[in-house]
């Protein structure tokens, strides 16, 4: 989080110099004009002082995007999105930001409080004090030095473009090509923020790398792009947290994450997604259309996705593993909670190509209010996947009688020695359990949180310690008002 805040401040500062490339005449303005066209793509690339090849890549993506239509196969009711009625570049305008926590929406602060995010971090999340951000620059630098000792690169992707162009050029789009899908292609054309991680051969990253993303209508980019490369026999654990303030209008978030694991490398990627879900009547909220994919290129490589999805009005997200390497391993652990009018269509793709590759999918969907929650998962065994194995377990929990849970498993096998298992259950929180808890003095909402946390335990256990605690609280918060 501190890193992203520092990055945006840096962008604002440098804007003055780069201005000559833009077509925005007002030097005070930190926003590109509304709408999307080639000029906007050029503007973004120019502001970031990108090399020619990257601009070309963006433009190719943009041209391709214009030929595409939005996917409509998910079990989602998506309102028409006017892509010309949005800003594709905006950096924080410090003058407009709140000067102190007193000016920040108290409900937002209450949410941070409930999440146990310390005050200092609250300030940074709320985009408040400039000095706090300056402080965080030094914090970021301290970590950076320690990581550099080990040869680990962890920086904003725009910085990586400048300092490590050969790596970015080699891997950007190698897992999710710019032609991949409507939202990923859009992202390729206009991505602004994001992280870059490179862990060299044989290095075990000495700390958990973490980023807090935040959408603030006038602030950080909504099209972030993350690229993580783990060389032979390396290990890295990366965490991302997401929050957004409450706004009446819907906001589009279309991120792309690419992971590359070489021989014997392991990447653990954890997400706690708590974008603003809209209010209890379904007004506002983030549209979260995200493409996350990891390539287990090397033999015995491993990629593990863990996600806790509690936010967003609409979630469309399928973190996937392309299991190229022999004996490679892909894992997907997911908790998706939808309440009120939230909709989620989420799951994974496990594509087995390497012999003896293995994958494991544990999905826990919880639906309350009038929400709809769908698991969609593909397990594909290609001809090379001799003796490959998959195990999928998909559990749905319903709270109340107006919500829905759906499971859409797709299984394709082209290798007779491959084995695929799928198990699914659907249950309701039953009155006996609730009454038992209440008889012991546990209030109804706390009881629901307790029971749901129990239901999600297998997945919560996969999260790094500090995230697990936050996630458990989040489970309770996101289901408030779902009973009674």
């Amino acid at each position: 989080m501190s890193r992203v805040a520092a990055e945006t401040v840096e962008q604002v500062r440098s804007l003055g110099d780069r201005y000559k490339y833009g077509f925005v005449t007002d030097i005070e303005s930190e926003q590109a004009p509304k709408g999307l066209n080639e000029d906007i793509v050029r503007f973004i690339s120019a502001i970031k002082d990108e090399p020619e090849w990257l601009l070309e890549w963006r433009l190719e993506a943009f041209r391709h995007w214009q030929t595409m239509t939005e996917p409509n196969w998910a079990k989602l009711g998506i309102p028409m999105i006017d892509y010309q009625d949005a800003y594709y570049y905006s950096a924080p305008k410090q003058k407009e930001g709140p000067k102190s926590l007193d000016e920040v929406d108290p409900e937002l602060l209450a949410t941070y409080d409930k999440l146990g995010i310390p005050l200092r971090e609250q300030e940074m999340l709320a985009g408040v004090a400039v000095d706090a951000v300056f402080d965080s620059v030094s914090v970021a630098t301290t970590f950076k030095a320690k990581l550099e000792e080990h040869g680990v690169i962890f920086c904003p992707i725009s910085e990586a473009v400048q300092n490590h162009p050969e790596l970015v050029r080699k891997y950007l789009g190698s897992v999710v090509p710019y032609t991949d899908n409507f939202f990923a292609t859009l992202n390729s054309a206009v991505f602004t923020d994001g992280s870059f991680v490179f862990v060299p051969k044989g290095v075990r990253c000495p700390m958990e790398l973490s980023t807090y993303f935040r959408i603030n209508a006038a602030n950080t980019g909504q099209f972030e792009r993350t690229l993580i490369i783990a060389e032979d026999s390396s290990y890295v654990s990366y965490l991302e947290g997401c929050t957004a303030p409450m706004r009446d209008e819907h906001q589009l978030h279309a991120a792309v994450v690419e992971l590359v694991a070489l021989d014997d490398a392991e990447i653990k990627y954890s997400t706690v997604q708590n974008w603003y879900p809209g209010d209890e009547n379904g007004v506002g909220g983030i549209f979260n259309f995200v493409t996350k994919r990891g390539a287990c290129i090397g033999a015995r490589s491993k990629i593990s996705w863990t996600q806790v999805e509690t936010g967003s009005a609409i979630t469309w997200k399928y973190p996937s593993c392309m299991l190229h390497g022999a004996d490679s391993v892909g894992e997907f652990y997911s908790i998706a909670i939808t309440n009120n009018y939230q909709q989620a269509d989420t799951g994974t793709k496990m594509v087995h190509m390497g012999p003896r590759s293995r994958s494991r999918v544990i999905s826990k969907g919880i639906s309350a209010g009038r929400a709809s929650n769908a698991y969609r998962g593909l397990v594909k065994m290609l001809p090379g996947a001799a003796s490959a194995r998959n195990y999928t377990q998909c559990d749905s929990l319903l709270i109340g009688s107006k919500c829905g849970a759906h499971t859409f498993p797709y299984i394709e096998s082209q290798n007779r020695s491959a084995r695929v298992e799928h198990e699914a259950t659907t249950s309701k929180i039953d009155d006996d359990q609730l009454f038992y808890c209440r008889q012991r003095g546990i209030g109804e909402e706390e009881a629901v949180a307790l029971i749901v946390n129990g239901f999600c335990r297998e997945v919560l256990q996969q999260l790094p310690m500090e995230f697990a605690v936050e996630a458990q609280k989040l489970v309770g918060i996101s289901l408030e008002g779902s009973v009674g």
């Binding site: 009155d431 038992y436 008889q439 012991r440 003095g441 546990i442 209030g443 109804e444 129990g454 297998e458």
Partner: protein, 249 residues
């Protein structure tokens, strides 16, 4: 402490309790005995506030307060505890986690500080040992895969940790072998105190060999048909419910 007056209650429109009167003072242990279908479990659910049990007439005073107005968790905070006939399984929730959540919820309700993990661990270990409950059982998910005896012992552990003022034991003896019965009875006896009342609901007399009640009531057809001292339990054992019910009718 507990005053039940002319209590009428029904489930899905069917009358189950037809005018129950019962008075339990502090420090007293009362047994409510009765044949199947007499309304014993209904009485315990009405007292603890379970949804679906409608009170049609009468009142229940607890320390002079209208008990029936309170939510189940408020009754618990006021010191009412129900040991369930069929303890509920909650997958994925560790027994320790559940116990701590419950105790801290009660403490909050009473305006006391919550116990931290270490303080709590000390309390649990000590009480668990007395009931022959090992760490292994405390680590497992609440009641999941527990044997009948383990479930009942777990109820007694909760009773010991939550230290209620009024404990209702609903058929706690059912499904217990004689050794488990003794453990449970010892646990209950250890909790007898001048300011704690207990209502022991049971079908058989055998539990009352180990927990000797001050008063015994016979509940049948939704009413208390007879009350007496502990000797009434023995008389019931000898003659069976039929004769008593016949006499009363």
């Amino acid at each position: 402490m507990l005053e039940i007056r002319d209590l009428h209650a029904s489930v899905e429109g069917q009358a189950i309790l037809n005018g129950v009167d019962l008075s339990v003072g502090p420090g007293e242990v009362h047994a409510v005995m009765g044949p199947n279908g007499s309304g014993k479990s209904t009485l315990s659910y009405v007292l603890s506030g379970r949804e679906g049990y409608a009170v049609d007439r009468g009142e229940v005073l607890y320390d002079g307060r209208d008990l029936l107005e309170l939510e189940p968790e408020e009754r618990a905070a006021a010191g009412l505890f129900l040991a369930f006939q069929y303890p509920v399984e909650i997958p994925g929730v560790g027994t320790m986690t559940f116990l701590r959540t419950a105790l801290n919820a009660l403490r909050r309700g009473r305006g006391e500080d919550e116990l931290d993990a270490m303080q709590f661990l000390r309390v649990v270990r000590q009480k668990a040992r007395a009931l022959g409950i090992g760490d292994d059982m405390l680590k497992r998910a609440l009641n999941v895969g527990f044997s009948g005896g383990e479930k009942k012992r777990n109820e007694m552990l909760q009773l010991a940790i939550l230290e209620p003022r009024l404990a209702i034991l609903d058929e706690t003896d059912s499904g217990l072998d004689i050794d488990a019965l003794k453990v449970v009875a010892e646990g209950v006896n250890a909790l007898r105190s001048p300011d704690r009342a207990m209502l022991i609901i049971t079908h058989y007399q055998r539990l009352l060999d180990h927990i000797v009640p001050d008063r015994v009531h016979v509940l049948a057809k939704g009413r208390i048909l007879r009350s007496g001292g502990s000797e009434l339990a023995l008389e019931l054992e000898e003659k069976g419910y039929g004769e008593i019910m016949g006499e009363a009718a």
